[in-house]
């Protein structure tokens, strides 16, 4: 029993870490741009597929392939920001939301047409898993994933709080008009946020690719789970996104692993949790007081 629980806790940690990378990006975008970016999950998928192309088809080894993939996805993120979201920035936030839905489906379709609908694996290398204290098993890629996630999250928080650029991003996020008066450029803020969140998404995508194998619709699952995490922690809140991600990561693994919930229902768990929570706390755990202004 101890082994099972230890294993489930580790699996939850891995899932939560990767989900946190995605949720952070999503909540930052909401904070600065005011809408939920539905195509964010596709950036994760693009990260995974880029890794596939660089490593499996072009033969780069892991690290160069990973770097290339991250850079490529950041470029995609910036392109999307420039062509799909900036033109509608000052309109009713439902418009960029709907556009992001369109972008999401469009990207899924493109992935399906280019790579085919079947499941693919990034690498045929066998990972030997290591036993930790005889209690549970970890794979090297999982360890790297968790470390990378913690590192990147820490760096991001440092960036947002201790650097000038980061602070100005937070200012724009809090109140765009006021920030503009103080000379901060919202365009620059958007670019930074989209670039950063795309990079985080790419990292998550690469590790997810190793964990779970790739298919064109893989972005949907992660998107939708990330939405739940972000709303759980309140839209726009960085701490909330991280907390939400781990709550969901752990609860999914523990509830299913301990047999409380049948494994088939695993994907629904984040939503049941979310809907229950929204009934009592309609703006999330760290509900921002200014939520009403951001309808």
């Amino acid at each position: 029993m101890n082994e099972l629980i230890a294993q489930l806790l580790w699996n939850g940690l891995v899932a939560g870490s990767l989900l946190a990378l995605v949720s952070l990006g999503l909540t930052l975008i909401y904070g600065v741009a005011g809408f939920v970016q539905f195509a964010h999950g596709e950036l994760v998928a693009l990260g995974a597929y880029s890794m596939l192309v660089f490593h499996k088809f072009l033969g780069f080894s892991f690290i160069p392939a990973g770097m290339a993939a991250i850079i490529l996805v950041i470029i995609f993120g910036l392109i999307f920001e420039r062509f799909f979201f900036r033109p509608v920035r000052d309109k009713n936030p439902m418009i960029p939301l709907v556009i992001s839905i369109g972008l999401s489906i469009g990207l899924q379709a493109v992935l399906q047409m280019v790579f085919g609908p079947q499941i693919q694996t990034i690498s045929n290398i066998r990972f030997e898993s290591l036993s930790v204290g005889g209690l549970f098993l970890v794979t090297p890629s999982q360890i790297i994933a968790v470390c990378a996630s913690f590192l990147l999250t820490g760096l991001l928080i440092f960036f947002l709080h201790k650097t000038r650029r980061g602070r100005s991003l937070r200012a724009v996020s809090d109140n765009r008009n006021l920030a503009q008066i103080f000379g901060m450029n919202p365009d620059v803020a958007m670019r930074w946020i989209f670039g950063l969140s795309a990079g985080l998404a790419a990292v998550a995508g690469i590790f997810l690719g190793f964990e779970q194998n790739l298919e064109p619709l893989m972005g949907v699952q992660i998107s939708v789970t990330a939405f739940a995490a972000v709303i759980l922690g309140s839209l726009g809140s960085v701490r909330g996104a991280i907390l939400g991600a781990f709550v969901i990561g752990f609860s999914q693994n523990l509830l299913v692993g301990l047999g409380v919930v049948p494994s088939g229902f695993s994907v629904a768990i984040p939503f049941v949790v979310l809907i229950i929570m929204l009934l009592f706390l309609p703006s999330g755990i760290f509900g921002k007081k200014f939520e009403l202004l951001r309808k």
């Binding site: 899924q108 399906q112 939405f227």
Partner: protein
Amino acid sequence: MIEYIYSLITIALIWTILAQSYNLSFGLAGLFNLGHIIFYGIGAYAAAILNTRYGIGFGPNLLISAAIAGASASIFGLLTLRLRGHYLAIATLGAAMIAQVVALNWMSLTRGPLGIRGIEEPTLFGIPFIGDTFTHVLLYGAITAFVLFLLWKLFHSPWGRLLRAIRDDETAAQAVGKNVFTAKLWALILSAAFAGVAGAMYTHYRLFLDPSVFSLQEIILLILLVVIGGRGKYWGVIAGAVLIIVLGEVPRFLSFPETMLGAARNLTYAALLMGTMFWRPNGIFSPKGVTKN
């Protein structure tokens, strides 16, 4: 070839009802419900189960499925209508995911991934209607016309105007004493009932049903149909629906392989949706104007 045209028309009819039903809740009442497909799916499954297990025929099935879908919407509405904007969107999306998972796992009811087979084709007064024939298309056409007529009455009634007012400025509507919550709830229930009818029609046409009917990807087509026709615009959405369904078949004639057809179609829809949002947010039949809300 003619069978192909009939099948296209049949699908267009079903989707026109579905689009107009969504137009009622999303377009007219402004409820950003991403889970509308749930009611379509519930209607479809209700019809399938009632037909294969209890032998209930096409006619009664349409009515019962509508009722079941509407009833589920009342619960759905009570849970979610307090939310606004992005929160509503995601909660409803979550509900759609839950519906899909339930359909996939509740083996005793839906048979999960095995699906429900051997659904009967519509039989009215002892006359069977075989799919993709002229009489079948006539039957579905008649039903669609009737349903659209009911929807027309709703759109152009005082209640319809109330919904529009709520969509444009909810606070103002509340200030003049209108019961906003009840209005929104009924909008949801009725739109769900009509979606349920579309679902039942689909079941009796395709003769097989599995949880893929709850597919989240269909939501883009629904949003597209309402947005392109103009939210709340009755005739715009009908015209849009016909246009889009026909356009969706274009990839087939560009000789896309069968397996990529779905993806190519989705890409077309995505492009159209984004294009519409950029240049004609009020629907392609309205000149570019100021978006009200």
